[in-house]
Amino acid sequence: MDVSLDDLLSWLPDLTGGLTISAIVTAGSLLLGIPLGLLLALGVQANSRLLRGFCLVMVEIGRGTPALVLLQFIYFGLPSAGMTLTSYSAAIVALACNTGAYTSEIIRAGLQSVPHGQREAAVAIGLSRLDELRYVVLPQGLRVAVPALLGFSILIFQGTSLCFVSALPELLSRAYEIGSTTFQYFPALLLAACLYAVICIPASILVGAVERRAGHYARR
C-alpha cells in the first residue's frame, strides 16, 4: 500500500463533503419519516377496520422490503410511471418510507406502554380525543420511544450508504470514486469506514446512556 499521509489528507475534504450529504439525507428522512411513523402507529390502532388494515399492510410492506429495493423502485421505477425524482429526493423519500414503517412499530410500543388508566382519566375529565392524544398519551408514550428512535437514527445514517446506487455523491460514492481514479480502493474505502465509525460509535454510546437514563425514569 503506497499511500502517503498527504494523499489521505487530500482526500479528506472530498469525503467530508460526502459526509455532509449523508447527514442531510439522514435528517431529511427522519424529519419526514418519524411523523409518518406516528401517523401509521395511530392508524394501526384506529377503530376503523379499513384504516387499520391499510396501515398494517403499509407497515409490513415497508418493513419487509429491503431499503435498497425500495430505493431502486423509487429511483429507477417511478420514472416509468411518469414521476421522475432527483437522486436527492429519491433517497430521502425511500429512506423516509423505511423510517416510517420501522418507527411506527417503535412508536406504537411506546404508546401502548402508557397505562390504560391514563386514557380513562382523560375521558373522565372530558378531554376530546385529540386533546387526550396531545396532552396525555403522546407526551408519555413518545418519551418511552425516544431511545429506540435514536438507535434507529444511527441505522438510517448507515443506510444512506445505499444511495451509492442512485448516483448520489454521499460518503461511500465519493470514496469509491477516489478509489476508481487512483486505484487506491483499500485506503480510500477504509478512510470512509473510519468516518462512519467515528460518528456511529460515539452516537451508539450516547444512545446507550440515554437508554439507561430512560430506564431510571421508567423504574421510578
Binding site: T65, V69, Q72, F73, F76, G77, Y176, A197, C200, S204
Partner: protein, 213 residues
C-alpha cells in the same frame, strides 16, 4: 409475466445461500466473541468490545466494498459471492455476539450458583446449564436478525452477486420498467420472510412450552 417472475426467482437460491452462509458463520463465531465480551481479562474483553463496536458501526455496503474492491483489487483474488459471505459473516458474528450476550445476561445468577454448589465444572456448567437457557432466550432476536440479514443481502447485488435484487436490476434495464421488476423483487422478499417469521414463532412457542412454569 410468469417469465419475468421466473427470471427474478433465479436469484432466490443465491439470496438464500448467502443468508444461510453468513448466518451460519455468525451463529458459530458469535459464541467465542460473546464469551470474550464477558471475560474477566481486560485485553480480551476490550478486544471483543472494540470488534463488536467497529463492525456494527460501519454500514454493510461499506464492508462489502472494502472486502471486494479494497482487498479484491491488488491483494487477493476474490469472487463476489465469497466477498459477500465474508462481509455478512463478519457483521453477523458481531450481531450474534450481542444477541448471545443479551441471552446470557437474562439468566439469573442463581443458575451459576446452583451449578457451582452441585460441583459442576466450568465447561459442564456452561454447556448443560447456561447455554440451553441462553439459546432459548436468544432465539426470537436471532430470528428477527435472520430476517434482517435476508434483506441486507440485497446490497450484495452492487458487487455482482447474482441474487434477487441483481436479477431485478437486470430485468429493469432490459424492459425499462423498474416499477414492475423491483415490485416483484419486493414481493418475493416479503413472501420469503413470512415463513421464516412463522417458523421462529412456533420454535419459540415450542421451546417455551417445554419449560413452562
Amino acid at each position: 409475466m410468469t417469465g419475468d417472475v421466473l427470471t427474478i426467482l433465479a436469484g432466490l437460491p443465491w439470496t438464500l445461500a448467502l443468508t444461510a452462509a453468513a448466518l451460519a458463520l455468525g451463529v458459530v463465531l458469535g459464541v467465542p466473541v460473546a464469551l470474550a465480551r464477558r471475560s474477566r481479562l481486560l485485553p480480551v474483553w476490550l478486544a471483543a468490545a472494540v470488534f463488536i463496536a467497529v463492525t456494527r458501526s460501519i454500514p454493510p455496503l461499506v464492508w462489502l466494498f472494502i472486502i471486494f474492491f479494497g482487498l479484491g483489487t491488488g491483494y487477493i483474488q476474490i469472487s463476489p459471492f465469497v466477498a459477500a459471505t465474508a462481509a455478512f459473516g463478519l457483521i453477523a458474528t458481531a450481531n450474534m455476539a450481542e444477541i448471545y450476550r443479551g441471552g446470557l445476561m437474562a439468566i439469573q445468577h442463581g443458575q451459576w450458583d446452583a451449578a457451582e454448589v452441585l460441583g459442576l465444572g466450568r465447561i459442564h456448567t456452561f454447556a448443560d446449564v447456561i447455554a440451553p437457557q441462553a439459546v432459548r432466550v436468544s432465539l426470537p432476536s436471532a430470528a428477527s436478525y435472520a430476517i434482517g440479514l435476508l434483506k441486507d443481502t440485497a446490497t450484495a447485488s452492487t458487487i455482482g452477486v447474482i441474487e434477487l435484487t441483481f436479477q431485478a436490476n437486470q430485468l429493469a434495464q432490459r424492459n425499462f420498467s423498474g416499477l414492475y421488476a423491483f415490485g416483484i423483487a419486493a414481493a418475493i422478499y416479503i413472501l420469503v420472510s413470512l415463513p421464516v417469521a412463522w417458523l421462529a414463532r412456533s420454535a419459540d412457542f415450542y421451546l417455551r412450552a417445554k419449560v413452562a412454569r
